[in-house]
């Protein structure tokens, strides 16, 4: 689709906004509907759009498969890592109270980190799924 000018320019304009919106959904999750899963999906959709317009190979140069896999794994580690940190700091697993001096701050920090982990994993897994399905036919 390299010759479709409108699509290419349109995508280039849209992608930054999609990424921004994903971050908005992520960080505004405290005050409105949102959260890591939705944000991760939106974040991934920006790259999937990019891959649709500019081709899978270009997308894989921007976002290598190894990195996507790494994201998928890293998110789980962020999530469980927060839990392990709370364990080490003397609370129960995922008891965010102990993360900061005041329990409220701890809760806020904890949930933000966990949601960040969710975002990373969902983003990684979604893009990896897309790569796997889209790349299948090229192999043959």
């Amino acid at each position: 689709m390299e010759d479709r000018l409108i699509l290419r320019v349109g995508a280039k304009i849209l992608i930054p906004f999609i990424l921004m919106f994903a971050l908005y959904v992520q960080f505004h999750g405290d005050y409105g509907p949102g959260g890591g899963f939705q944000a991760g999906l939106i974040f991934a959709s920006a790259f999937i759009l990019y891959a649709l317009i500019f081709g899978l190979d270009t997308a894989k140069r921007v976002l290598p498969l190894g990195f996507v896999w790494f994201c998928g794994a890293l998110g789980v580690w962020i999530f469980a890592g927060v839990g392990v940190v709370t364990l080490v700091m003397g609370g129960e697993f995922l008891n965010y109270d102990v993360l900061a001096h005041e329990p409220e701050h701890g809760q806020e920090l904890g949930i933000l980190l966990v949601e960040l982990g969710v975002l990373t994993t969902v983003f990684g897994v979604m893009v990896a799924m897309f790569y796997a399905f889209a790349g299948r036919r090229q192999v043959r």
Binding site: W69, F70, G72, A73, L74, V76, W77, A80, G83, V84, L87, G91, E92, F93, L94, N95, Y96, D97
Partner: protein, 492 residues
């Protein structure tokens, strides 16, 4: 740190899975999986010891107390199941190294271990959690990874088997969610202990009855109870050997555990068996499963498929024990949970050894193997004896309790059926023995020699356990008996 063992039981494999997936080489992933499975086994033993000395352990995730937050609750039954699952995992993982290198492409091996460890995570999660929705989540973690593992089989039929399992498993899981949702609508709680109190206060109610129905069908699909077992034979036959050994020994056991949890702990014996008369449904199905599936097993030409049908029959024994709804019957059912894991684990691992050398588990391919692979076939025979229920093996212990339970109720035809089905097991095990020991192999094929020690040792560990717990059954019967008493609502 010991206070956190309940959650570490689940978190350690969860953390290990992404590491396995990222590992570049199969051996590194295997090392991680091995360390994980042994650690979880150690934790499970610690937990069982603690539960036996101090009573049930409760762990509040995130520091939120029980009815509001998610509670991990470990009583004698769950600790026992944890030991079974992690024990099988600890034996199967060393076995996996060689077997998986032979049966799965090198590039996929790290992912194989990632899925394997995730499956372990899910199974352990179901067992430790005290929250019904958590059960669903962990159930799907274990099931999804199991579908992927089965789909890795060499034969293309593994793919259709995995797909069929995926469809039926997802239907089962969705039924379970519907049941949980209906319970939540009526009680506003998801905590098991809380639910049991609230449901008892609520009394019989149409929504709860419907929820009960959905849960029964959903869980029965997952544990392959007789008419809902269609996914099982293909899945076990075409999955990689390691996967068959692991899944056959753990996945259906954990599903039986779920059945016990839902019917005994949450709904209560009175509601399940007096009001809903669950035994009238389960008992006939269990008996049909025992007889027909043993019969079907006799006519199979693929030994793995034969063992798979035999598994459906053995699940029938467990359900039979449950449907007796007495302490003796339940003890028998729970014992068979443990014993069948040992039996089928060793039998499928022996078949994995055959697969490794011969490349086929067709009954014809086993001609003369008794001479060429003496230790492998001896392990198969030993496992077979245990499956039949010969005294001094574990199979005898659980059948003994089941027969006692049936006689206690005065159901002597049931006891007779158990004995008759054992004779059928003699027939199908004998078919393999005859071919392996009394028929000559097709010419001299010097490439077929004894399986490597890396496969034989884990197999024989399980065979040894078959005899050890068959000769000295005090530990298992004590734990199973105490678990059964507490399930029946009697003070242990």
């Amino acid at each position: 740190m010991t206070a956190h063992l309940p959650v570490l039981q689940v978190i350690i494999p969860l953390l290990a899975a992404p590491l396995c997936a990222l590992a570049r080489r199969g051996r590194i992933a295997w090392g991680i999986a091995l360390a994980t499975s042994w650690t979880t086994f150690w934790i499970a033993i610690q937990l069982l010891a603690r539960v036996r000395s101090e009573g049930p352990i409760s762990y509040a995730l995130g520091g939120w107390a029980a009815p509001v937050g998610i509670e991990y609750r470990i009583d004698l039954l769950s600790a026992f199941v944890l030991v079974i699952v992690t024990g099988i995992g600890a034996v199967v993982t060393p076995y996996a190294l060689k077997s998986v290198e032979r049966e799965i492409e090198a590039a996929k091996i790290p992912l194989f271990y990632a899925a394997f460890v995730l499956c372990l995570t899910g199974l352990l999660g179901i067992t430790v959690t005290g929250d019904v929705f958590n059960v669903f989540v962990f159930l799907e973690i274990s099931s999804l990874s199991a579908y992927a593992l089965i789909g890795l089989g060499q034969d293309r039929r593994a793919l259709t088997a995995a797909f069929q399992y995926l469809i039926m498993g997802s239907i089962g899981a969705t039924f379970i969610v519907i049941g949980i949702g209906m319970m939540y609508v009526m009680t506003g709680s998801l905590n098991m202990a809380d639910l049991s109190v609230l449901l008892a206060e609520l009394g019989p109610n149409r929504t709860i009855v419907v929820a009960f129905g959905f849960l029964t069908v959903g869980i029965s699909l997952k544990l392959a109870l007789f008419p809902l077992h269609l996914w099982l034979p293909n899945a076990y036959t075409y999955a990689p050997s390691t996967v068959t050994a692991f899944i056959a020994a753990t996945a259906t056991k954990v599903a039986v555990y779920m059945l016990l949890r839902f019917f005994f702990t949450i709904f209560g014996v009175v509601f399940s068996f007096d009001v809903m008369q669950l035994d009238r449904v389960l008992l006939p199905l269990a008996l049909i499963a025992i007889v027909t599936m043993s019969l079907v097993a006799i006519f199979q030409t693929n030994v793995k498929r034969m063992l798979a049908y035999s598994s459906v029959a053995q699940i029938g024994y467990m359900i039979l024990g449950i449907s007796l709804a007495s302490v003796t019957g339940l003890t028998g059912g729970i014992l068979h949970l443990f014993n069948h894991a040992l039996i089928k684990g060793s039998l499928f691992m022996a078949m994995g050894c055959v697969m490794y050398r011969v490349g086929s588990v067709e009954i014809d391919a086993m001609r003369g193997l008794g001479k060429k692979m003496p230790w492998t076939m001896a392990a198969f025979v030993a496992g077979g004896l245990s499956l039949i229920g010969v005294p001094l093996t574990v199979g005898f212990i659980s059948k003994w309790y089941l027969i006692l339970g049936a006689l206690e109720r005065g159901w002597w035809p049931v006891a007779a059926l158990i004995l008759a089905a054992s004779l059928m097991a003699v027939v199908y095990i004998w078919r393999v023995v005859e071919v392996a020991y009394f028929q000559e192999g097709p010419g001299e094929d010097s490439s077929i020699v004894e399986a490597p020690l890396a496969l034989l040792i884990p197999t024989w560990v399980l065979v040894f356990a078959n005899f050890y717990f068959g000769i000295d059954a005090t530990f298992t019967t004590e734990v199973a008996g105490a678990a059964a008493r507490s399930l029946m609502g009697l003070v242990p």
